[in-house]
C-alpha cells in the first residue's frame, strides 16, 4: 500500500483509505495478515500479542483524536454512506424521484422505507464512493431541486402519517450559478420552516459531514442525533481558516475553534444524543455501525410515535426556540495536540518484529 496523499487535500475523495494517524495501525494489520498467511502453527503465539497491540493502539488513537482528525474520519472514503445504511437497515426501500418543479437531484436521495417493520420516509445525502458515482451525485452537494424533492416527499409523508428519518452527510449545499438562479437560499429556508412544523415524528442523524445550511436543510426534527466521529459546523474548517487567517491550511486550528465534534455539540445542546461508533470508527466495522444506528433509530421512532402529536410538536418547538439559550461557556478547547497519544510510526514497527 502506498502512502496516503496529504490530509490537507480539500476533496475527501483524494484521501486514501488510510489516514495519517491510522498508518501505524494499518502497518500492524498488514503484519498480522502476513502472519496469518503463513501455515506455520508455531506463529500463532506471535499473532495474539500483535492483535492485542492493534486494539490497544486503536483505542488510544481514537480516544484522543483532535477535532481536525475527527473531520478527516468523517470524510473517510470508506465511511458508511446513505446507501450502506439503506442496505443494512431496510427490508425495503422504494426511491422516489423528482421535485415536480425543475428536476431530479441525485445528491439527495428520498424514498419509502421499512425498518424492522416500521414504515418511514427515509432521506439522505449521497456522496458516492467511486469517481463516476461521486461526480453523478456532486459529492453530496445538493442543488435546490434536491431540497425541494425532500420537501415534496415530506409533505407526502405528513399526509399519510409516515415518520421521517434523515441521514445527513454533506460538505454543504452546492454554491453554483444554477443553484443560485433556482433559489438555493429559498429552497433551504422553506425546508427548515416546514420541518419545524411537520406533524409526523422526525429524526435526523448526522452520519458524516454536517456542512452548514446544506445539512440543516434536512436537519430539523424532534430528535437530532450524531455519530461519534461525525462533525457538524457552520462553515468548513478550510473555509473558516481562509477567512480568519487567509490560510486554508490552518484548517486544523479552525476545526478546534469551531467546536464541531459530537461531544461539544451535545454540551451545546445542538444534538440530543451521540451514537457510538465501533472501535476505530465506522469505516472499520460498517456492519456494526449500521446495526447500532438501526437500534438507536428504532428506539427514538417508537418513543416519538407513542407521544401525543400536539405534545410532540410543542416539545420540538421548545427545543428549537431555545437553541443557544441558557448555556454556559464551554471549557477551554482541549489542550491535546494531534497525535500526542500516538507513538511514532518507527517505534510501532520495531515492536512488531
Amino acid at each position: 500500500m502506498s502512502a496516503p496523499p496529504s490530509p490537507t487535500s480539500e476533496r475527501p475523495d483524494l484521501l486514501g483509505p488510510g489516514l495519517p494517524f491510522e498508518r501505524p495501525i494499518l502497518e500492524l494489520e498488514r503484519k498480522i495478515a502476513e502472519l496469518r498467511e503463513i501455515p506455520d502453527v508455531s506463529l500463532n503465539g506471535e499473532l495474539k500479542p500483535l492483535e492485542r497491540k492493534r486494539d490497544r493502539l486503536l483505542a488510544e488513537v481514537y480516544g484522543g483524536l483532535s477535532p481536525w482528525q475527527v473531520v478527516e474520519v468523517a470524510r473517510h472514503s470508506r465511511r458508511p454512506q446513505f446507501r450502506d445504511y439503506v442496505q443494512g437497515m431496510c427490508s425495503e426501500f422504494v426511491e422516489l424521484f423528482g421535485d415536480r418543479l425543475f428536476g431530479e437531484d441525485p445528491a439527495l436521495s428520498v424514498g419509502l422505507a421499512t425498518i424492522e417493520g416500521r414504515r418511514v420516509l427515509l432521506m439522505g445525502h449521497r456522496k458516492g464512493r467511486e469517481t463516476r458515482e461521486k461526480l453523478a451525485c456532486n459529492f453530496g452537494c445538493a442543488h435546490p431541486e434536491g431540497y425541494r424533492k425532500a420537501l415534496s416527499k415530506m409533505r407526502l409523508a405528513e399526509r399519510f402519517g409516515l415518520p421521517v428519518v434523515s441521514l445527513i452527510n454533506t460538505p454543504g449545499a452546492y454554491p453554483g450559478v444554477g443553484a443560485e438562479e433556482r433559489g438555493q437560499a429559498w429552497a433551504i429556508a422553506e425546508n427548515i420552516l416546514e420541518m419545524c412544523r411537520l406533524k409526523v415524528p422526525t429524526v435526523c442523524v448526522i452520519i458524516g459531514e454536517g456542512g452548514s445550511g446544506g445539512a440543516l436543510g434536512i436537519g430539523v426534527g424532534d430528535r437530532v442525533l450524531m455519530l461519534e466521529y461525525a462533525y457538524y459546523s457552520v462553515i468548513s474548517p478550510e473555509g473558516c481558516a481562509g477567512i480568519l487567517w487567509h490560510d486554508g491550511k490552518r484548517a486544523s486550528d479552525a476545526a478546534k475553534a469551531l467546536r464541531l465534534t459530537s461531544a461539544d455539540l451535545l454540551r451545546l445542546k445542538v444534538v440530543d444524543e451521540i451514537v457510538p461508533e465501533p472501535l476505530g470508527a465506522a469505516h472499520r466495522d460498517p456492519v456494526q455501525m449500521v446495526a447500532t444506528l438501526k437500534a438507536t433509530l428504532l428506539k427514538h421512532l417508537d418513543e416519538l410515535s407513542a407521544m401525543d402529536p400536539a405534545e410532540r410538536l410543542e416539545q420540538r418547538f421548545r427545543r428549537l426556540r431555545n437553541l443557544g439559550n441558557g448555556l454556559e461557556p464551554l471549557p477551554e478547547p482541549g489542550a491535546e495536540e494531534p497525535n500526542r497519544l500516538l507513538p511514532p510510526v518507527a517505534a510501532a514497527e520495531d515492536d512488531a518484529h
Binding site: A173, V177, E180, L193, C196, S212, G219, L258, P329, L330
Partner: protein
Amino acid sequence: MAFFRKKKEIPVGLWMKCPSCGKMAFTKTVEENLHVCPDCDHHMKVNGPTRLRQLLDDRKYEAIGEDLEPRDLLRFKEDVGTYEDKLKKSRLKAGVTEAVTVGRGHLEGIAVTVAAMDFSFRGGSMGVVVGERIARGAEDALARRVPFLVVATSGGARMQEGALSLMQMAKTSAMIARLREEGIPYLVVLADPCTGGVSASFAAQGDVTFAEPGALIGFAGPRVIQNTIKAQLPEGFQRAEFLLAKGYVDRVVHRRDLKKELATVLRYLEPRARPQEAVG
C-alpha cells in the same frame, strides 16, 4: 456562509463619499435622502436604529431585546484577541450592541414590530443574540397580533459562535412558522448584501418580499461561487433585479418608496384575529 470585503463608507464629518460612484456629498443631504446617493442613486448601508427611524412614524420606536448581549460561548480561539474583544470593538464602531435592532412602532398608522439588521456590526452576521432578538420580535408581533417586518442584511452566520449560529436559522424559522400558522403577516426587505445563513432562513420566508435596488442577494457569496466554478460570474448576477427576474422577490423598491409600499401591502394583509376572539 459568505464574507465581504469592507468597503470604505465611513462618513467623514460634513462630507461623505459614495462608495459606488465615489462622488462627495454633504452628509446631511445624504441622510435626508435616506442614505441614497443623490448622484448615482446607490442605496448605501444603513444601521439598525436609523432604518427603524426611517420606516416608523415620528421616527420613533420602542426597543425590544436591547438588554441581550452576545457572549463567547465557544471560547473561540483566534490568533490575536478574543471574540469578546472583537465584540467590544464592533460596539464602539457600529454604535449598536448587536447586528440587529428590534422595535415596536407604527408604519403609516399601522402598528408593527420591525427588526432591522446592521451590516456595520460584524458584517451583519447572525449569532445567538441576533437569532434571539429576531425571535423575540416575532413573538412580540404574535402577542400583539400585528405584522412583523424584517430588514435583512447579513454576510451569513457568525463563525465565532459555530454551530450555535447555524442553529439560529432553525430558531428563527420556528418562529416564522408560528406566524404563518397564526395568520400574522411577515414582510421582508432584502438590503445590500444578504447572503448565507440569514438568506437561507427568515430572510427567505416572507409572505411578501421586497428588495432594494442593486442589493446583492444569494445563498453563497460571489467569491465562493467564483472559486467553485472557476469562471467569471455574469453581469448583475445575484443582484435584486436578477432575483426579481428569476422569481424570488415580489418587488424591487426604491428606498424613498419603501415605507409607502410596505404600508400599501400591509393594508391587504391583516393579521388574523386570535382564535378565541374569532369563536367568541
